[in-house]
Symmetry: C2
Subunit: 422 residues, 2 copies
């Protein structure tokens, strides 16, 4: 994989230039993407290299893949739907404008599932093309995993960052709700949609997002002796397969062996209720947010999207308000959780990437944390007997993004290409 | 003015048809708008009448003006800026799709100030064309006040619904934050932007929004004997001129005379701090939200917008986070306020509409409540010695929109075209 930190260091030391770094990413896309299908659109080479040559700012030399539901003024934004084929927005999304202002170059638009929901796209998993890369940020995760770009942008409404990151074996970071702006991204659910990031490691993501936002996010050393880690198996643990169970056990064992304190946490009822309320909020809002597309183009929607919008449109405002109250209580309950522990370790996914492209896998271990808005980081580094990645995620209190990234980076170093027994 | 309730009753009783009602609104626009300048675009008459003839749903026969920062697929959306002249969005905003799905007809796009900020547009006040209609929902308020449409949609980030409603002498309703969706509206500040409504009276607005959203919002009778009203002069009372002071006193006097309990409230420090924090949040977010326009088109921005974006881009994430903490505490403090009172009465504006079109007036009495997200209703009915409207607003606890609308409607009936002494 391409590393943000390696590229930035090489540019700083004069070993390479922003233009050469961008050329390398574009070359990797040209070499590899035919087999992966991570990109819906690739930037024009001449334009991108000209931008790279003139790039100034802390992200000069970094090529970024941008999920194709996020507007770009110079490339189509297709939303993963035939309804928006060839769509040309009048402006860049806020996040894209920030990227360019810091010197990054948009290498292309990465494949998204239809409006970032569940209907699979055609991108394959770089670890095994017979398996799904996950969704909905399918192309973003695969583009980083295949070494085509050092960073990609995605969004998560259910599990669309953490799940594809886990399936593709890359670091994935869903920030605290609203840390990264979503202006100019297609809305599915305004209470849940969250912009996030993919890179090779947590330290790469942290360095990138720190330079992008001006926030103090670079990873810090962790002192295991002072770290209390909540092992959070959730009330849906029965959905975790043997690989996920072994991965969580391995990560916990390594953390304990290094001196950290582990605390088994039973899921509070408020959080179990939050997981249940997620769909009500998501589907009610999607029914409104995609009201135009439903009215004019529902014959060009997948069955799963159309059915979900119809379910959402049948939810009453009262039922939606009840779900929002449950969500508020769940957010409050996470605050109490983080009085007893500093970070939480929990599965990213039910298991390794499923075989086939007919499903993007289950977001069951993600959607609660999208609802609560806590920062989550998928930690790569564990593989199952078939060589497929199995992710675990580290969470922290709302706003403690630097701790989540730092603890994830520390766990990565403890795992260092661990394999779980078959 | 045109009344939603009168039109819906006439259609229900068979006195008129949706098509005739829409034709009447379009006729009023054709007659009056040359003098007012409330519309940036008027709907094609044939298309609108065809839509009205086929309209089904609870809002059939209601012509709506839509602020020109809210996307429509069949009319340009100019954002009040030359940068977006002729801009044709690919889809309706969520609110517009909801309107059409309920049978309403979009009569046209109402003039907005540049990106809904402070640079005045050319709409005039229907009560006196030498005076501003207020902003940024200038055309929406003026279109209703001049009797061209029964309803118009606007947005408020500082005071852009309540202020123009007060200056134009119409009912204006800023709902609880996020009650009305903003998907497909141009973002200025995602933490503050709030969609809202203008109509002749609070009862008209309530009937309209109830039918639009499926929420129980129709105004209910108020029993003054059980109503505790907080008289909230704020810590910026020195900015209220003689007209505003007299209007607030008159409203309070009539409410007391009818048997309600008045409670003078000193502004809690948390709320005074919230008013101060508003600009930090607004400008930081605007600097990000309009990042593309700043990068590519700042030579086509007004000075006040460009300067504000530059101020916003200079705000650090730390300063922004501090302002967000202050906002959270302010929201919490409003919850305590509403333990002692049921509704709050406070000025809508510093005075009647200023003379001239060089300023849209001050949002000082509005921006705190945009920050807290409480429902606010401007109550028309008081005029100063020059015949210009002077507004007062009624607020309720977050989520108690029906109470805010009901209390506003009751106060309207108590005022019934009151004039304050010169």
């Amino acid at each position: 994989m391409q590393s943000v930190l390696t590229i930035l260091n090489a540019i700083e030391s004069g070993e390479t230039t922003p233009r050469a770094a961008i050329a390398r990413s574009l070359g990797a896309i040209a070499d590899k993407d035919a087999a992966i299908g991570a990109f819906a659109t690739v930037a024009d080479r001449k334009t991108a290299l000209a931008a790279a040559a003139g790039a100034k700012g802390p992200l000069a030399g970094i090529a970024v893949g941008v999920k194709d539901i996020i507007d770009t003024y110079d490339m189509p934004t297709g939303m993963g739907s035939p309804i928006y084929a060839g769509n040309r927005p009048p402006a860049d999304a806020a996040l894209v404008a920030m990227l360019r202002a810091r010197g990054a170059v948009i290498a292309g638009k990465t494949v998204a599932t239809e409006f970032a929901f569940l209907q699979p796209a055609t991108t394959v998993n770089p670890h095994n093309p017979a398996h799904t890369p996950g969704g909905s940020s399918s192309g973003s995760a695969a583009a980083v995993a295949a070494g085509m770009v050092p960073v990609a942008i995605g969004t998560q409404t259910g599990g669309s960052i953490i799940r594809p990151a886990a399936y593709c074996g890359v670091a994935g970071y869903k920030p605290s709700f609203r840390l990264a702006p979503l202006v100019g991204a297609k809305t599915f659910s305004w209470s849940l949609d969250t912009a996030g990031f993919f890179a090779a490691t947590a330290a790469d993501i942290a360095a990138f997002v720190a330079r992008l936002t001006g926030r103090s996010l670079d990873v810090e050393p962790i002192d295991p002796a002072t770290l209390r880690i909540g092992i959070y198996k959730t009330s849906v643990w029965d959905q975790a397969d043997a690989d996920t169970r072994a991965a969580l056990a391995l990560a916990a064992e390594r953390m304990a062996a290094s001196g950290a304190t582990l605390v088994e946490i039973d899921e509070p009822v408020e959080l179990a209720a939050g997981r249940e309320a997620h769909s009500t909020i998501q589907n009610f809002e999607a029914g409104i947010a995609l009201g135009f597309e439903y009215a004019h183009h529902r014959d060009r929607m997948s069955d799963i999207l159309r059915t979900t919008l119809e379910q959402g449109r049948a939810i009453t405002p009262d039922a939606y308000d009840v779900a929002r109250s449950i969500a508020r209580r769940a957010r409050h309950a996470t605050g109490e959780l983080f009085q007893a522990v500093d970070v939480i370790l929990t599965p990213s996914v039910t298991g390794a990437a499923p075989r086939g492209l007919s499903s993007t896998g289950s977001p069951i271990f993600n959607k609660l944390w999208t609802l609560t808005g806590n920062p989550c980081v998928n930690v790569p580094g564990i593989a199952n007997a078939a060589g497929l990645p199995v992710g675990v995620q580290v969470l922290a209190r709302f706003g403690r993004d630097r701790l989540a990234l730092s603890a994830a980076s520390w766990l990565e170093s403890l795992l260092a290409s661990a394999e779980i027994a078959p």
